[in-house]
Amino acid sequence: QQQGQCQLNRLNPMEPTVRIQAEAGVTELWDKNNQQFQCAGVSLIRHVIQSRGMLLPSYLNTPLLAYVERGRGFFGIMNSGCPETFQSSQQFQQGERGAGSRFQDRHQKIGQFKQGDIIAFPAGAAHWAYNEGNEELVLVCFEDSGNSANQLDQNSRRFFIAGNPQQGEQQQGQQGGARSFQKEQFQSGNVFRGFELELLAEAFGVSTETARKLQGQEDQRGHIVNIDQGLRVVRPPFSQEQEEREERQEQGQYGPRAN
């Protein structure tokens, strides 16, 4: 066998070999070391997220395509410099200030997804996902480390910007198991961990206590966390029924919509 030459004369179906358990879900990894993945320059992972579970924000050095095998929810992608276009209106709050604090926020765009959707995540763009449904959310994620957008080596690296992914419990599958590098993605700290606490506090203009929370040293939840009270964000109506209802209301006001 020549150095670096792919052995593709025998292919076989593959199962995930490693499971990384977290508070509100599990991530299963296919062994990237397997010749077939090596030759294709790709890797595959599957996130199974419980209801009200959130995959913590992270970014990758490879572009990623996620297929929604089951469930529904919403996701955010932070593109550098994009404005916070999802914003609760200021005046509206003024009027209601007396009625206790109304939910106010502004953030970048949020997308909805449901079973059968494909979602594209550019390399280097921080993203997060939340299971808003009542059933499990299953996301099958394809990472293309052979893509020209990846300028590192053939290993896709996931940089978490929150939480303490190393708390995930790892269980080995039947066939040997993925190379330690792959598991490492879900078994290390977030990027803030490496910065000096004071500098971090300075950079955010917050107390060192809050900066310590950024580093997440004491966080025991792993990379998929449970949000009991549900996630509140500024967002348009997501469900189809809701949208149709609003459309009908509009028609009621203006009559049937002309073709």
Partner: protein, 186 residues
């Protein structure tokens, strides 16, 4: 109009001139980029460059280059630089001074802190339209997150989450109170 071809292509652009700054903070410094949008020939080379100036007691926001490796060459002064990999490990935590070179791999998080003197550097990027994503400041990834996502991600109150999100109005270059330089580990 004359089509720009290789023969008549513009090949040169100055990035030292303060008037060309893309990001400018009178108290903290400036940052100037040259990429294929400002110097079209770079789309053939698929490279870009930038020049940074940090005044004393200033910080460049923690950030990562989303689509490029970055080679940093110091042209003046000294600063403390920390570089963190995907495991949260600081793979570099050092004071870097004039004449030295540091390589920042794609996606690795970086922070620069000019403590006692002005710090000037040039970067060469392996993408003709290299992009920075910041972790703090007005255009940062954290700012783009919903308050609830921050509160739940870091197990903090909503109020704390708002502070994390909104306390820094600058985009890339911040003044520092100098508190952190007392704790420097290097």
């Amino acid at each position: 109009g004359i089509e720009e071809t290789i023969c008549s292509a513009k090949l040169r652009q100055n990035i030292d001139n303060p008037a060309r700054a893309d990001v400018y903070n009178p108290q903290a410094g400036r940052f100037t980029t040259v990429n294929s949008l400002t110097l079209p020939i770079l789309s053939f080379l698929r490279l870009s460059a930038a020049k940074g100036v940090l005044y004393r007691n200033s910080i460049m926001a923690p950030h990562w280059w989303t689509n490029a490796h970055s080679v940093l060459y110091v042209t003046r002064g000294e600063a403390r630089i920390q570089i963190v990999d995907h495991r949260g490990q600081a793979v570099l935590d050092d004071r870097v001074r004039q004449g030295q070179v540091v390589i920042v791999p794609q996606n690795f998080a970086v922070v620069k802190h000019a403590e006692n003197e002005i710090f000037e550097w040039v970067v060469f990027n392996t993408n003709d339209n290299a992009m920075i994503n910041t972790l703090s400041g007005r255009t940062s990834a954290i700012r783009g997150l919903p308050v609830d996502v921050i509160a739940n991600s870091y197990q903090i109150s909503r109020e704390e989450a708002r502070r994390l999100k909104f306390n820094r109005e600058e985009t890339l270059l911040f003044t520092s109170s100098g508190r952190s330089s007392q704790y420097g580990r290097v």
